[in-house]
Symmetry: C2
Subunit: 702 residues, 2 copies
């Protein structure tokens, strides 16, 4: 069930529920199909009409003489399943179900949608929708939707989980001259989802960039696998809404989808190379830039301007986006000095001054574009008295063509005075914005995408042949048999040991003699802790003794703890007393795991200790597809990393050992889906090695 076949270029399209009444959805679809210029057969299906919009109409899809690859269904919801079955009988490959009244309306609708999907499966049909606006391809051409207008031909593919948003964007795009290769309204995603459509667009020669509005992702694991491939081919930009808790509630009342946490989405997008847009404006600013600019070779930006103010604003944004201001070569500076007026600013930003005309822009741009230290160029222009937007743009276009590897973007500040210039930029396939900020934000997106695309393909290198799966299984078996889901400290330590995660030795003693023996084995000092799944605050009931240095202390400690617990919590089940070796203090870290509904296990690592929730210095990665290099990148994102590298003269921590411990934790949670949560806090990191101190593992009944 991979990929889409003939969805956008079908041989024959049936419109089931076609109507001759203007204003009806079934009428709009037929008209759109005709007006789109679609070259195959268009077959309105309606039992009452002989002819619709000048085309022969058929009582049923099975009555159509020619081949029908695609059927667009706009009949009432209760008729959809039957219509789908008939499509199956006819040999239709693909359905676009416009009709609403399915999952989005509640339980009954959900049942109806299941029936519909089952019918599709039975006949091997794929389906877009239900509850969608349809799909459009400007290159086939094809407009199997009920939109009021058709998009301008272009090279942006737009996928939208919200039909009304697709309609709005289409309307808006025409007013700003933005073109699309294809548009698909994903609706309820009963069968096909963004995953198949992203994969399709990635292989589409007419599409240069894929822009999506999503409220959730259909299948997190598959999304990761498929989109990771797609982004190697072309940029995928996603505006994912429902980021806030309130927004997610609104999203879920809207689509009935169970959304993963926004943090997981953020992590997933980053790990598979998706550029995440933060607003609708940014989604399309990025789409424009990606569709019109090459991916630059690096992050060094040059700015050429005729006014200081916008140059400063652009420079601020270069820094805010973690880009670099290009440092020109000596030769470039010398040439600029020779050719520009004495008052001109020669260093980046280059200011050709308010009396600069097109020739001065051309001169400066020639030097700047040719400079090997420049990766991308932003041309800022204010409508000064002598500014020549059109002539200047001619120079910009020529230079952009001469240096096809360097993005050259415009920031033309103004209205009517700049219109001609902006239009020529757009017609020449260059990105031009009204203000400096979006131009710099666009370069930032291009640079981030380039870094992802050009990084060597990550290999799955989290394989540790020495892990002992059987030992872990045995522990979990015992825990479940004991009707528990939370492991005791000694059990968790055993799991860690089985997976080679270095941890302080912990054993369970049921008698004082046993405790002394264990303490002698592991060496002093030791800690004693009561082992009981019912006692959460062990210290409060006198259930902990620290810093015990000799056998006598252990013996006395054991007895005292037992007495304390028996006195204060006589009914609590006590499994014994845990003996843990006290480890020397190191840098306190945390390694953790939570399982996201959509994307599976998510690993966390960062600053540990009791203030972990306060300081929130933790970074995240999804365990699926995680690599050692990614773990290094993950650690480098934390403030703890500065500590680990040796802060204020302290010795650096053993980073390779930490990477290994995180990797082994990821391996553990990938191998054991029944692990619900892990919380190792603190992990003491030393100059040599590390040690997990307190390991909490919760499992679920698998």
């Amino acid at each position: 069930m991979e990929g889409l076949t003939n969805f956008y270029n079908p041989a024959g399209v049936a419109v089931i529920g076609a109507s001759s009444k203007p204003g009806k959805v079934g009428n709009s679809i037929v008209k759109n199909m005709i007006q789109s210029g679609y070259r195959g057969g268009i077959y309105p299906v309606n039992p009452k009409d002989k002819e619709i919009e000048g085309l022969s109409a058929y009582p049923a899809v099975t009555d159509i003489p020619g081949p029908v690859d695609l059927a667009v269904l706009a009949v009432p919801a209760r008729l959809v399943v039957d219509a789908a079955v008939q499509c199956g009988e006819k040999g239709v490959q693909n359905l676009v179900v416009i009709t609403a009244g399915f999952k989005e309306t509640g339980k009954e609708g959900l049942e109806l949608e299941k029936e519909l999907v089952a019918a599709c499966r039975r006949y091997g049909m794929r389906m877009l929708g239900p509850n969608c606006v349809g799909l459009i391809d400007t290159h086939t051409p094809l407009n199997a939707s009920f939109t009021k207008t058709t998009p301008i031909k272009g090279d942006i593919a737009f996928l939208s989980q919200s039909g009304a948003t697709l309609i709005a964007i289409l309307d808006w795009s025409r007013s700003v001259g933005l073109g699309f290769s294809k548009m698909a309204s994903l609706g309820n995603k009963g069968d096909l989802s963004e995953i198949e459509f992203i994969a399709e667009a990635a292989g589409d020669p007419y599409t240069r960039v894929i822009a999506c509005y999503l409220e959730d992702v259909a299948d997190g694991r598959r999304f990761l696998d498929v989109v990771r491939q797609a982004t190697r081919k072309k940029p995928v930009i996603i505006l994912k809404s429902g980021t806030s808790q309130a927004g997610a509630r609104a999203a879920s009342s809207h689509t009935g989808a169970l959304a993963g946490s926004d943090l997981a989405y953020d992590t997933a997008f980053r790990q598979c190379g998706v550029i995440r847009a933060r607003s609708m404006t940014e989604l399309f600013e990025l789409a424009i830039a990606f569709s019109r600019c090459p991916v630059p070779g690096g992050n060094r930006v040059a700015i050429v301007t005729n006014s200081g103010g916008p140059g400063i604003v652009a420079t601020d944004n270069v820094e805010n986006h973690h880009l670099a201001m290009a440092r020109f070569t000596k030769e470039t500076i010398a040439e600029l000095r020779a050719g520009l007026p004495a008052e001109a600013a020669l260093y980046n930003p280059v200011d050709v001054l308010g009396d600069g005309k097109a020739d001065r822009y051309r001169f400066a741009l020639e030097k700047v574009c040719a400079d090997p230290n420049v990766d991308s160029v932003v041309v800022l222009m204010c409508p000064t008295a002598v500014a020549q937007p059109l002539e200047t743009t001619r120079a910009v276009v020529e230079l952009a063509q001469k240096y096809p590897g360097k993005p050259v973007l415009g920031g033309y500040l103004g209205g009517e005075s700049m219109a001609e210039g902006e239009q020529l930029m757009s017609e020449s396939g260059l990105a031009c914005f009204t203000f400096p900020e979006p131009a710099i934000a666009a370069i930032s997106g291009l640079v981030r995408y380039g870094a992802f695309r050009d990084a060597p393909v990550a290999e799955n290198d989290l394989d540790y042949p020495d892990v002992d799966q059987k030992a872990v299984k045995a522990v979990f078996y015992d825990v479940l048999r004991d009707n528990r889901l939370v492991l005791l400290g000694s059990e968790a330590a055993a799991v860690a040991k089985a997976y080679g995660i270095p941890s302080a030795p912990v054993t369970l003693a049921t008698t004082a003699v046993e405790a002394v023996g264990q303490a002698e084995m592991m060496g002093y000092p030791v800690v004693l802790k009561v082992a009981s799944p019912k006692i959460l605050h062990k210290t409060d009931v006198g259930g902990v003794k620290v810093g015990l240095n000799a056998a006598a202390d252990v013996r006395r400690g054991f007895t005292e703890i037992m007495e304390n617990v028996n006195r204060l919590l006589p009914d609590a089940p006590v499994y014994g007393i845990e003996v843990q070796k006290m480890m020397p203090r190191g840098t306190e870290l945390i390694i953790g795991m939570t399982r996201d509904l959509q994307f599976g296990p998510m690993i966390a690592c960062g600053l540990g200790g009791i203030y972990v929730n306060l300081l929130k210095d933790v970074s995240f990665r999804l365990a699926h597809g995680l690599t050692r290099r990614e773990i290094e990148a993950m650690l480098a994102e934390t403030k703890a990393y500065t500590l680990l590298r040796g802060y204020r003269g302290e010795k650096p921590a053993d980073l390779p050992a930490l990477v290994e411990a995180v990797g082994r934790t990821a391996r553990l949670v990938l191998d054991f889906p029944e692990i619900n949560e892990i919380d190792i806090n603190p992990v003491f990191a030393y100059n040599q090695g590390l040690s997990a101190l307190d390991i909490k593992i919760t499992i679920s009944v698998s």
Copy 2:
């Protein structure tokens, strides 16, 4: 020298350097003055022409028969000072100096500018510029600039430090239908600056909101005083560029101004109620919203939409901006349920569905606007097949008029389909954006402004009658006499003591006997530290002894430290040995002060200890105008605050004592401008009281 008189409404305007040649600046100004509809006398001054653009021209300003309040100078730079002097002789009140070639060109230009300013001072004239585009008032009307077009009449005052940006914004504003009450190009700010123009606009009945593009602030201290007053009257929105280090360099090469740190600007803006825009787009989105919306009574936002997607996006943004989604009353819900289709979403956002027409919007809006739990309303609309943008907008306008205290903003997604509706919104004085995000961002700005404006006026309540200024002066005198700028620990402790900042006792002992006596006085345990301005790493040379519990220990410690230091650093001057009482550990905080070039002393407080630079959990306030309530707000911004209030069962810290200590530190640095830096780290905060442990004070030669 306060305020502006007759700048925008002068009796008689001379244009010195007027020209009859089209394209010349001196010609554009005369034309603009004529075309503006200015009702007073316009007097071109040019020794060669008898008539310019149909007006009598005069050889010199002194030859003009009528009164001249304002002279616009566009003569070459070398002639400007003479022209200014003649204006002074004529009795001109105000100058607008368009001419460039002053401070911005370097040292000579700076001298010329000083001469010009001196000439103005001599005659009591005020000056805008030099090196500016001029100024415009659409209500007087008056256009004393060389802009190509005139702005649409409106109620936004725009002040711009960049002339080209002003020109660009003017050009752009006409294309988007945005109106201005006045525009001023500040140029080099040789005399007048944003300060006077903000104060003027605050009192201008035609101005509702003040928008500024600034690269620096002329006088930080006066800016604070004046703008704090202005923002009580009307909103001031500022885009301050040069925020990045690279941007500040670009700004400083541009204007030659010495910019304060961006953090200080951020703090200053917040403390005086300025809404800071983060981009040029946001500057005007906020300006539009402020000019068209009332300030809401609270932060509870209601959303009415005809499509789920944009509703979710808006909801996300409500949360991101720390606004609240309004919770409707039971009555509202019941009414909505009764009047809307079963599938409609009744809870916020209210979804009137894709088939919702104007009547359904009107119904929902009536209920939502009337709800007492709603402070502001966003109307989102997608161009669905049946959407009625114009009719819906009529309902929106009526309801906005019916509830004048509640902002009602539009987010009309689309292009041509929405144009009529958007236009009616604009004509009706309502704010309408193309996407949901700017509408929510605008409400966030309105809410923040309202909170500032409506807060009781802060009183200067940092007066501590018990402070001992003489004691501090004596310490500084001794330090300077000793040719030092860094205080010894004992000196710093004495300063703290004089200002009532609780600190661990520190004394300086020159003999072992003295040390023992001091230790006995303060009580054990104590720490000994070598006191020498030349020894920075005291521990490394054996210059520190901690945890001394008895006289014998102190005696031995004293001798050992002296021996160690004499052996390892025989040439270091040693003032003696500091005896400090060891204090019990508390929550580690930092209190600090750096002096900003523009805004003076800036107080910092937050999490202390050795990781202070790593964790960066510190918040800032300018000491000028600081109040106890502001200090409380400052503390509440830090993560440390969570600790101080009692984290994970710990006892809360003595917050009033901390507020007092911060306030006394602020008092100290306000009283002693010679204090350059203070760094008190750690401060131990206890359940009762606190104690400053390590106090570093650096002074400058005053």
